[in-house]
Subunit: 156 residues, 2 copies
DNA sequence: ATGATTTCTTAATCTAGGTTAACCTTTATC
DNA sequence: GATAAAGGTTAACCTAGATTAAGAAATCAT
């Protein structure tokens, strides 16, 4: 459990590395993401101050996600430990619920609906990250997001 | 904690009902799913014997998923209880990991890739459910799945 | 401050998967 | 075992979002 200061744009965990930690954000903004075989990034999660971010693989397994900073950040590294997680099971159950909703959304909602849901759910993050990042979280291209936002303005 | 016998096709939990239980499958096959505003079903999860299935909302909240049986089944109803879940945190952490992978797949893989991954990961379920159900789990239409499988045969 | 890199937008074109509909096969139901 | 219902396939056509490319605006680095 060590506090580190991390400059914007620094990768603090890479796919394939042995994963033993999660990261609690004291200040700043992190993200986790994967890179597909075409080199395209897919953001799995954002984590602003107060949140904890990490890969869901068991401690000692190889990481499946990259984690980096989108702003200069202060981060506390916390060793993964299922015993400790038992003390605090609520956030994990909440996490499962959020992931369930995300999957249902990805399967049943249009890009516009997913965008509107994102903006409503995470207004703070919407203000802090680029369109490109939001598009990547939604599972669409920045071009598609630009088009969607345009259509929205004209139709409302 | 009560054991019930459920005939194929019976809905044992509906969206909007107060949710207090999860279901442990002794025999048979259940699924959880949502229905979108166009009336289309989206399967969130299958649960064959030995698995536990339930909505991830907290006990007392309104259910966001339907749960029904795809085969005649014997099911044990278990009251949700975060204290009890603490005893057995491993399956929940595993669950988070599976959901993380599913989200990454939905965002970055084609329908064919998702199908092949499904068949490889759940060969037993592949044998037991209709194409329609598999398509619904993958987030595509049965027509699209039929097309994909055809293409696969001709290209290999 | 200035050039360079990154971000955002627009537009043309392309494609995976959706929609609709017809048809055939398998499975339930009486 | 006849009839109905559900499941699966095929084909024609459609559409949301991807791709490519190019220009404008913002941000970064020296």
């Amino acid at each position: 459990m060590k506090q580190i200061e991390v400059k914007k744009g620094t990768v603090i965990q890479s796919v394939g590395e042995v994963d033993t930690k999660v990261y609690h954000v004291k200040s700043g903004l992190l993200r986790s993401y994967s890179i597909d075989e075409k080199g395209k990034e897919h953001i799995f999660m954002f984590a602003p101050e107060g949140w904890t971010i990490g890969d869901s693989v068991s401690s000692g397994e190889k990481a499946e996600l990259f984690i980096d900073t989108l702003e200069n950040s202060i981060v506390i590294e916390v060793e993964k430990n299922p015993e400790k997680e038992k003390q605090n099971i609520k956030p994990i159950l909440k996490r499962v619920s959020v992931l369930q909703k995300r999957i249902i959304m990805l399967m049943s909602s249009s890009a516009l609906e997913r965008y509107e849901h994102f903006v409503k759910t995470y207004p703070d993050i919407t203000q802090r990250v680029s369109q490109k990042m939001i598009a990547s979280y939604l599972g669409i291209t920045p071009e598609a997001l630009s088009k969607i936002k345009n259509k929205k303005i004209n139709n409302s």
